[in-house]
Amino acid sequence: MSLLKVQNLGITFGGLKAVDNLSLEIEKNELYGLIGPNGAGKTTVFNMLTGVYKPTTGEFFLNGENLTGKSSIEINRKGIARTFQNIRLFGKMTVADNVMVGLYNQMHYNLVDGLLRSPKYFADEKEFSKRADELLAVFDLYDDRDTLASNLPYGKQRKLEIARALATSPKLLLLDEPAAGMNPNETAELMKTIRFVREKFDMTILLIEHDMKLVMGICERVTVLNFGTELAAGKTSVALNNPQVIKAYLGDD
């Protein structure tokens, strides 16, 4: 059984079909690409898969469980975590605390433990701040752990978002243009980190990317969207050489 199954998913905004009849399946531990020109509907797909928008048509399943129409909160608890194209960090909190917020649901102590600082509080805080540090180290952010998130350079902010998403220990990680705004060196390094994350955490990743070259180097399979509909899907090298896809991209830039 595939980890994520999307069936005929679609959404309409006041007559505009932002996404229409999208179907795809992602296997466990796969690194899958969702690409297409600007405005194709990629982010909208993520918003549906994370409960920000309710799909107008279709359904999606995680490990066979239907999550269509569930809230963002429930969907994250079921195992889908994401990053945002326009970075959404907790800017006035430290880098470490950003990840600690991601660990919230895994901590055990209750409000009274917190107010009275019971031994359970200390044990939990210690254990999870260690885990936060480990996650930060993966993204080379450990030395910045006490910096305010808004003071981080752009590239590191993107990484911190991935660390925070991973902190919720998801089964499926959705990355929305993680390399946007990065220089080629940073991008190459990020791609390495994404591969590393996939191995270390046995993670399944669905990645939105605008840049075709980048996708080629990292995704086994892709779905290409244009005006909300699927242009091509399948093995990356094949799908990207599809004449319609080439045309859509040439028309875009």
């Binding site: 994370t50 920000v52 809230s71 963002s72 909160i73 994250n76 608890r77 975590a81 994401r82 945002f84 959404r88 960090l89 907790f90 800017g91 006035k92 909190m93 605390d97 950003n98 600690m100 917020v101 991601g102 660990l103 919230y104 649901n105 901590m107 102590y109 409000l111 917190g114 107010l115 009275l116 600082r117 031994p119 509080y121 200390f122 939990d124 210690k126 260690k130 540090d133 480990e134 180290a137 993966v138 993204f139 080379d140 450990y142 030395d143 925070r164 998403a165 902190a167 919720t168």
Partner: protein, 338 residues
């Protein structure tokens, strides 16, 4: 293993006891004038009001203009209990404090549940209306004294007792708020202020968090109302006007929003200043306004903010190099170098 009993906390406790001892001594010897003695009690319940409103405004990032309502509910509930029961003073005081806090918390819980969807201006307007509603409500309830007020709440046997009890309550509140803001709950609340959508994306129920903050905040404001009632022995609907809510909001803003220390300092200074500079009390509202505008201009000026941040960092570095503490162990995974 970390625990509550460590050197830092023992020092803090010692400082708190020392402050109490000095003030109590000044009171006992009569060096402190009667009006200054009353001022110490007033500062205590203002500190609680400011701290509790800061949870909503500074930490959660919502604007409430009706904080006096919870203060009134707590004051009246605790005051009525004290008035209509016949227990020795200390049990009366403790029970009144709890009853005032709990009744205010229940009201805060219900209110926050019903206004959850509101944000920004709408929330501010509804809280404002709610504050006025509570004031009108206590006015028409005869058992609560109506417009004449709730008269004859048992008073402290002396100002030292009043100050000491209020001081203990404030300390407990400060500890509780500190612990709250440094727990996973407090972090989630601060995160909501910074980015609510991202908080939901990591599986945290922001509605529950908001209700939690409003409930805790109104519990503390309610207890502040009880302290006020015992101090003043008479509660009047006119004690709980919109002006008070604004005054406390000014303290929160001047305290820097989202800062326990700032809230305490701002409320001490703002409560004490007009009394210390007698003549200036006419200009109190003017001073607030000017201070508020200055603070807002300061906060919205990136250069000034950057400057203070640099200043803070420099102080931190200085502290570090003075103490030269060993840095805690680093995690093993990943290529970290320092």
């Amino acid at each position: 293993m970390k625990s509550i009993i460590n050197r830092k906390n023992i020092t803090r406790l010692a400082v708190a006891v020392a402050i109490w001892a000095v003030i109590a001594l000044l009171m006992a010897t009569g060096i402190m004038s009667r009006s200054l003695q009353s001022l110490t009690i007033k500062i205590c319940y203002y500190v609680m009001l400011t701290l509790s409103l800061d949870l909503i405004v500074g930490y959660l990032g919502d604007l409430s203009l009706g904080h006096a309502a919870f203060y009134a509910v707590g004051g009246y509930a605790g005051g009525a209990f004290a008035l209509y029961t016949n227990l020795p003073f200390i049990p009366t005081f403790i029970l009144a404090l709890l009853i005032g806090g709990v009744v205010a918390a229940i009201v805060g819980f219900l209110i926050s549940k019903s206004i959850l969807k509101l944000r920004g201006d709408y929330l501010a307007i509804v809280t404002l209306a709610f504050g006025e509603f509570i004031r009108s409500f206590v006015k028409i309830i005869r058992g609560l004294g109506g417009t004449k007020g709730l008269i004859g709440i048992e008073s402290y046997s002396s100002r030292i007792v009043g100050f000491s009890l209020s001081y203990i309550v404030v300390l407990l509140v400060i500890i509780a708020i500190y612990n709250f803001t440094h727990s996973r709950y407090g972090r989630a609340v601060t995160a909501i202020r910074d980015n609510a959508i991202a908080v939901e994306s990591v599986g945290i129920d922001i509605k529950k968090m908001k209700v939690l903050v409003f409930t805790i905040s109104s519990f503390i404001a309610g207890m502040a109302g009880v302290l006020f009632g015992f101090y003043k022995t008479t509660l009047n609907p006119s004690d709980f006007t919109y002006n008070l809510s604004i005054e406390v909001l000014v303290m929160v803003v001047l305290g820097g929003m989202g800062s326990i220390r700032g809230s305490v300092i701002a409320s001490v200074v703002i409560v004490a200043l007009p009394e210390l500079l007698r003549g200036a009390s006419d200009y109190r509202m003017l001073i607030y306004a000017v201070a508020l505008i200055a603070m807002m201009m300061f906060k919205s000026n990136p250069k000034l903010v950057k400057y203070t941040e640099r200043l803070g960092a420099a102080v931190d570095n200085l502290k570090k190099s003075l103490t030269r503490k060993a840095v805690s162990d680093k995690p093993s995974s990943g290529g970290v170098s320092k």
